[in-house]
Assembly symmetry: C2
Homo-oligomer: 248 residues x 2
């Protein structure tokens, strides 16, 4: 099922069977893309949005010298550029990291969907706001944490997000990034990321080799990165309650 992982772990159960079916029916063709491809460019008019089924993608912006700043890393289940539906243009590039499988949703189909399903619309809206919440956390990471904390925070976040969609077990998950990619996400140089990773390894916090992350000390890493998972709005987060009914 195409939309299997959409909102999995973050209130997917607030979707009725009817809504799930309607969303599934709105999906266009599935396609696969190779690694390191640019999928959408800044300023481009978009008429479809992509749901990521398998693999990893990223969103990024270029500075004047051509250096990239990643603004988001997308994992399976993410509706990568659903924000292109209300916005119609993107203010950043989207690219693949490893090879991916995606489903495209035509915006006309989404318009029909949202005309008929106001509650589902709010869930779709919610999913785009999850991205915004993650953006805020990235701002915090870059603005307030030193290098080690930034990497620790990023890996802690990915561990939780991948765990929610069943792609992380016991702190281990695959992540098709290079050290240079991590640097672009954390506002560091690849040289320094290398040193930070070594420090984290020698500290028995985590390892990263060959595209596989193994978090040895989940709590310690979270503390180092000042990571608290509430902003990911998981079904059973630190705010306590499982997802309540959305509407009063």
């Amino acid at each position: 099922m195409i939309t299997q992982r959409f909102l999995l772990g973050r209130g997917r159960d607030r979707m009725s069977a009817d809504e799930k079916a309607a969303l599934e029916a709105a999906a266009g063709p599935i396609c696969t893309l190779g690694p390191r491809e640019i999928v959408v460019r800044t300023g481009e008019r978009v008429t479809q949005s992509m749901l990521l089924i398998e693999g990893f993608m990223c969103r990024y912006m270029d500075d004047r010298q051509g250096y990239r700043q990643l603004v988001a890393i997308q994992v399976p289940g993410d509706f990568v550029d659903l924000h292109g539906f209300p916005m119609r243009r993107l203010d950043h590039d989207i690219g693949t990291l490893g090879p991916v499988k995606i489903a495209r949703f035509d915006h006309r189909a989404l318009t029909r969907l949202t005309d008929r399903h106001p509650h589902l619309t709010r869930l779709l809206w919610f999913s785009t706001l999850l991205d915004a919440a993650q953006h805020r956390e990235w701002i915090f990471r870059l603005g307030r944490l030193p290098a080690e904390g930034r990497v620790a925070h990023l890996m802690s976040e990915l561990n939780v997000r991948l765990g929610m969609v069943g792609l992380a077990e016991g702190g281990t998950f695959t992540l098709p990034l290079t050290q240079a990619d991590i640097a672009e996400a954390c506002g560091l140089t690849s040289v320094h990321v290398n040193r930070v990773l070594r420090a984290l390894r020698e500290d028995n916090k985590m390892t990263f080799r060959g595209g596989v992350v193994s978090i040895v000390d989940v709590a310690g890493l979270a503390k180092l990165g000042e990571f608290e998972a509430q902003y990911l709005y998981g079904d059973h987060d630190a705010w306590g309650l499982p997802a309540e009914g959305e509407d009063a």
Copy 2:
């Protein structure tokens, strides 16, 4: 009119008279708040959202030592925590900067509104995505720009945003921030912000005194901050076209 400035300069004209009236009718009571008040705290359940009518607010997160990282500065016309409507909880604090006037919108009223007005719903959705776009730019600012560039970028952004709602003229606008606030927005220390502001002043780029920003060299400041306004999705942005009809 309460919603006068909402989406002003960014596609407010895509709202029909009917929709404008419906939104206006959904507004709850107007109230005023003093400067430096905390309005919503992290994790709090929210049942209303605030439209900022006059004054400035900010959204921020605290690190472990209690230092703040601003993640957004809100100006008149901003629907400050509309994202609380689909999300129901906030992952950050919201506070006032100077004194403000706000209108509250009860979420039950918004539910009724969005049940009946799918097109207006997409505009509300769009307005929350504008925040996300600004978040992304803040990530870029913190990840890729040196101190001078960060301040330059922030001020360039505020100049454009305030200009869109008629609160900036010729690069001059009031901004009730201290140098420490700017530091918290830019991931710097207040000491260093002070030095940066002096450098910008001596370079004839801009001045900031007594809560008033005067941008002397708009283009130069924008270049220094690698600022390009497309991400603000203005009616007449660098992507060229005035806002087209939203639906095909």
